[in-house]
Amino acid sequence: MPVTAIGAYNAQPLDSQDKFNGLQLVYLCWERHLMFCAPFTFPLPPTMPFGDFIEHVVKSSISQHPDAPQVDFNHAQWRLNDQPFTPNYSASLIDNGIDHKSLLHMNTPGLNGIAGTFN
């Protein structure tokens, strides 16, 4: 619906990809690990291989969680923008379909957070 306004009302999105200096935003939610209060926001090169994303971005972000050492990324279940997703580790983010402001959900079955409380 158009904005209720006194005249013509046009605006530009403040967060289009061109404003991020060649990078794109990717969000990651590690399901059932509420110790991290919200999904993470990452600025990443679209050409970054998914494997590098895991090795150099995800691992360090979750490292303070007691479950982190047990995460087997090969058996993680993924959703990309709410659809089931199987990542190709050697392909880039963009070639995996992970574009600007995409949200990834990572589920690690069997790892249920601090003392199994999903924290």
Partner: protein, 518 residues
């Protein structure tokens, strides 16, 4: 003809307000009041406006002056007697830092908002009520600043509240709330602020802070609170009068008002997350739980209100049933956010003591021990090892309320709530259906939201790393204003003032370098 020597209150008020108005003879109503029609609200007869309180300017000045004299005398006495040393505990002052940087600038926005709409209504009664409220709000800005100024001499984080309000990541939550209202038309502004905020939800802002002050030895803030509350009674009645007037004027107004009530209830509920957190976690002496406050001040009081409005065809706000679930969660979720991001706050955070954990368990029997205690005990254990937890990443923010997506689904309390939509090829994310609904109704307004995390990542916040941004862009003094309470300058100073106080918890020796995060 007998001439009456004295007018009664109603007549006097009418003579000195509406009767000073006139019909324009050489300009049209539409040109003088250009913003009255674009929202679709139909006013057939401004004479039906009932002035809720009939304070003429002379009476107004008289009573306000009396209140001011009393108030400043108490500020002086508090200051002269070093009142800050008789607080329950120095942790309490962190609630004031949140208040001064988060709430006081909103009073200033309220002043600006009411001054603007006070020019926009063709009904003189409404104009005057808004103009007087504008003056009240400016008074609140000033009296709050004065109340806090004493604390600024002895505590950190209070030194640049206006600057921080415009820049610091979590302060975009209150700032964007009010900017949304002020950039709306005059009738939406009144529905948002006079009705939804100043009537429906006001007690949920004031009672926690003011009772919190009373219970924790903060005479300055208590006195400010009482001094302001008498103004608030007038504001509340304006809010109720406005809504009834608009609903009675034309049946076409009902669906418009209903939509605004839905939107602003949800926005207000989300904004009050910060207050809930303050109430449950930042008051050493507890008043009541946030859940209890929501029950009394919204569910009970609001229940009566919406029952009264049924006759106009108004129903309770959309998603209200979610707030009944949320009241047992949001304060804990919010404290978790601020605890783990305290490298970037202008106030300290800490883990609750054992007594406080038990109080939380008793007040939240269905949620606290199951979901929140485990993480707090884990964090406390980390802290005792010298590994106090700070989240090294930036959080995902909701496009509307701008709070990190930390709320859980109402029917699945271990799943973070998330909604998403696309608009003109761009993706947008929300914490809830309530926020998503607001976006979908007027998307163009919100695609330009200044989201702090995204602005940082665009390079617009003066630095590449959090530490630089905190110091240079936020003007938060690193190592002084931020990080953990235990071992902070304020904590140590409090212990110096109270060497025999067994309640000023012994500082766990914490290596300052370990407080920092990469």
């Amino acid at each position: 003809m007998a001439v009456k020597k004295r007018l009664n209150a109603k007549e006097k008020y009418r003579c000195m307000t509406r009767d000073l108005d006139w019909e324009p003879s050489y300009q049209t109503h539409e040109d003088i009041y250009p913003h009255e029609r674009f929202e679709g609200i139909k006013i057939t007869d401004w004479d039906k406006w009932e002035d809720p309180f009939r304070l003429t300017m002379d009476t107004y000045w008289k009573y306000q002056a009396e209140k001011e004299k009393k108030l400043y005398a108490i500020f002086d006495a508090f200051s002269q007697n070093n009142g800050h040393t008789t607080l329950s505990d120095a942790r309490y002052v962190n609630a004031l830092k949140l208040f001064l940087s988060g709430v006081t600038p909103l009073e200033y926005q309220a002043y600006q908002g009411f001054a603007r709409v006070g020019r926009q209504f063709s009904g003189a009664g409404a104009r005057i009520a808004c103009q007087m409220q504008a003056i009240d709000e400016l008074r609140h800005v000033q009296t709050q600043i004065h109340a806090m100024s004493h604390y600024n001499k002895h505590f950190n984080g209070l030194h640049d509240f206006a600057h921080m309000h415009d820049r610091v990541w979590f302060l975009s939550v209150p700032k964007s709330f009010f900017e949304d209202a002020r950039t709306a038309g005059p009738f939406e502004f009144l529905t948002a602020i006079s009705f939804s905020f100043e009537y429906v939800l006001t007690n949920l802002l004031f009672v926690p802070f003011m009772s919190g002050a009373a219970f924790n030895g903060d005479m300055a803030t208590v006195t400010f609170g009482f001094s302001a509350q008498s103004d608030e009674a007038r504001h509340m009645t304006l809010g109720l009068e406005v809504i009834k007037f608009l609903l009675e004027q034309h049946e076409d107004n009902v669906p418009i008002i209903q939509r605004w009530i839905d939107k602003w209830f949800w926005r207000g509920y989300r904004l009050l997350t910060l207050v809930g957190m303050m109430m449950d976690y930042m008051l050493p002496n507890k008043v009541m739980s946030w859940s209890e406050a929501w029950g009394v001040y919204f569910e009970d009081a609001g229940g009566a209100l919406f029952k009264d409005l049924e006759r106009y065809g108004i129903r309770p706000p959309k998603h209200v049933e979610e707030t009944t679930v949320g009241k047992d969660h949001v304060s804990h979720q919010a404290w978790s956010i601020f605890y783990q991001y305290s490298q970037a706050t202008n106030f300290h955070t800490w883990m609750p003591t054992d007594e406080e954990l038990d109080w939380l368990s008793s007040k939240y029997p269905d949620t606290f021990d199951k979901i929140y205690r485990p993480r707090f005990e884990h964090w406390r254990a980390l802290q005792e090892k010298g590994e106090r937890f700070y989240n090294p990443t930036l959080p995902m923010l909701c496009q509307i309320c701008q709070i990190p997506l930390s709320f859980t689904e109402p029917d699945e309390q271990t799943t973070l709530s998330h909604r998403t939509t696309e608009h003109e090829g761009e993706r947008y994310h929300f914490c809830s259906q309530g926020c998503c609904d607001i976006f979908e109704y007027e998307p163009t307004k919100y695609i330009q939201a200044w989201l702090p995390v995204h602005q940082i990542l665009q390079g617009n916040c003066g630095g590449a790393d959090v530490e630089t941004i905190v110091r240079d862009y936020y003007n938060i003094s690193p190592g002084q204003d931020n990080f953990e309470y235990l071992g902070s300058t304020e904590h140590r100073r409090w212990q110096d003032w109270h060497p025999n106080d067994r309640n000023s918890a012994p500082a766990t020796p914490v290596d300052p370098d370990l407080l920092k995060t990469g």
